[in-house]
């Protein structure tokens, strides 16, 4: 079994340059199952633990190398997600990820899937847990196909996350 090509920022890499978009169906279905079986609090706990544990190698890199590592990670991440149109803008105390077209929402719509209303919240719950582990903060604005993720230093003093700033996901 050959080893995969190494990535500078992605901790887990495949032999293929991009993932299979049909896996977004499974991510959406996983959220639906967890929300039904464990409730909103259980679903949020799942995402927070996933963020701290599964993504620990990334979080560690962010903690050690700061915002340049955050920007590099998201550029490589979205390059491996089929159908993404994303721009990563690095500033002095923050990195903004402008998602012009979310690959997951796009594929779920194309596949005629019923999208979990809370789908876009997962980016904030997961992202905030990962940012906290790295000594950073994360905010999210938008959703339902396009959004803006902001990863910043604590010193940047971002205002608290506004829950209403995250849109519900819809089929159209």
């Amino acid at each position: 079994m050959e080893n995969p090509p190494r990535s500078a920022e992605l901790p887990y890499v495949d032999t293929k340059p991009q993932g299979s978009a049909d896996f977004y169906f499974a991510i959406n279905a996983t959220f639906r199952f967890l929300l039904a079986r464990r409730g909103t609090a259980g679903w949020r706990s799942y995402l927070e633990e996933l963020g701290r544990e599964y993504y620990a190698p990334v979080n560690q890199g962010w903690r050690e190398r700061g915002l340049p590592a955050v920007a590099a990670y998201w550029r490589e991440f979205f390059a491996a997600e089929p159908g993404a149109r994303v721009e990563v803008v690095a500033g002095g105390d923050r990195v903004e990820v402008h998602v012009h077209e979310c690959p997951a929402i796009k594929h779920l719509r194309a596949g005629g899937r019923e999208i979990v209303r809370e789908y876009c919240q997962h980016c904030h719950v997961l992202g905030a847990a990962r940012a906290e582990a790295a000594g950073l903060t994360m905010r999210l604005a938008g959703g339902n196909g396009s959004c803006r993720h902001t990863y910043a230093t604590v010193a940047a003093g971002l205002p608290p996350q506004d829950p209403a700033a995250v849109a519900e996901a819809r089929e159209s």
Binding site: M1, N3, P4, L10, P11, Y12, V13, D14, T15, K16, Q18, G19, S20, A21, D22, F23, Y24, F25, A26, I27, N28, A29, T30, R32, F33, R37, R38, G42, Y46, E49, L50, E53, Y54, F77, A80, E81, P82, C102, P103, A104, G111, H122, C123, L126, G127, H149
Partner: protein
């Protein structure tokens, strides 16, 4: 954002999380309700409607997409549909990246494919070696007899004929005429 490029990694992590939360039953329910009936409903509809022909369409497409290096073989013969995975793209991702949180990742396939086959009127013979190699034979419900001898259905493509099918220390998990993961026996 949870991505699809490393799906197998967080999917496997999720099995272990579910087991901590609700035991083995919750993991089984997840494979049936979330994966088989929700995520893979297109496969269920296709195979339920078209039987063997639907299997060829579904796995012909999905394996070519997930394993463009063609680390698999599909064999269609009267009364049986067979898959040999010589280099499973899913388990291979975990092995290459050193990821293991759950006791047997390979059980997830029987966990979602099994119920789909049961509802479509088929049973499964299957073995996996936990090293990225496995084989599957689907037959109509009511089929009898033991496992087909190596090479008898797929010829030289039969994964059991590979020299690394049973590496030193590896164990085989086997299901005969089964449709759920807890039916497996360890060989």
């Amino acid at each position: 954002m949870i991505g699809c490029y490393d799906f197998c990694g967080h999917y496997e992590w999720t099995f272990a999380w579910l087991e901590r939360q609700g035991g083995p039953r919750l993991v089984r329910d997840y494979w049936v309700e979330a994966i088989s009936r929700d995520s893979q409903r297109h496969a269920c509809e296709l195979i339920g409607r078209e039987g063997f022909s639907g299997m060829a369409k579904y796995w012909g497409h999905t394996l070519a997409e997930e394993s463009p290096e063609l680390g698999f073989a599909i064999t269609e013969k009267p009364g049986v549909f067979r898959i040999d995975l010589h280099d499973c793209p899913s388990k291979g991702f975990l092995l290459r990246n050193g990821l293991q949180q759950y006791s047997d990742y390979c059980d997830h396939c029987m966990g979602w494919v099994g119920p789909m086959m049961r509802e479509a009127g088929f049973v499964i013979d299957h073995e996996h070696n936990h090293c990225g190699q496995c084989w599957w034979e689907m037959r109509r419900k009511g089929a009898t007899g033991g496992l087909a001898p190596p090479g008898s259905v797929a010829g030289a493509k039969d994964v059991r004929l590979l020299p690394h099918w049973r590496p030193a220390g590896a164990t085989l998990d086997r299901c005969e005429k089964a449709t759920e993961p807890d039916a497996k026996l360890r060989a």
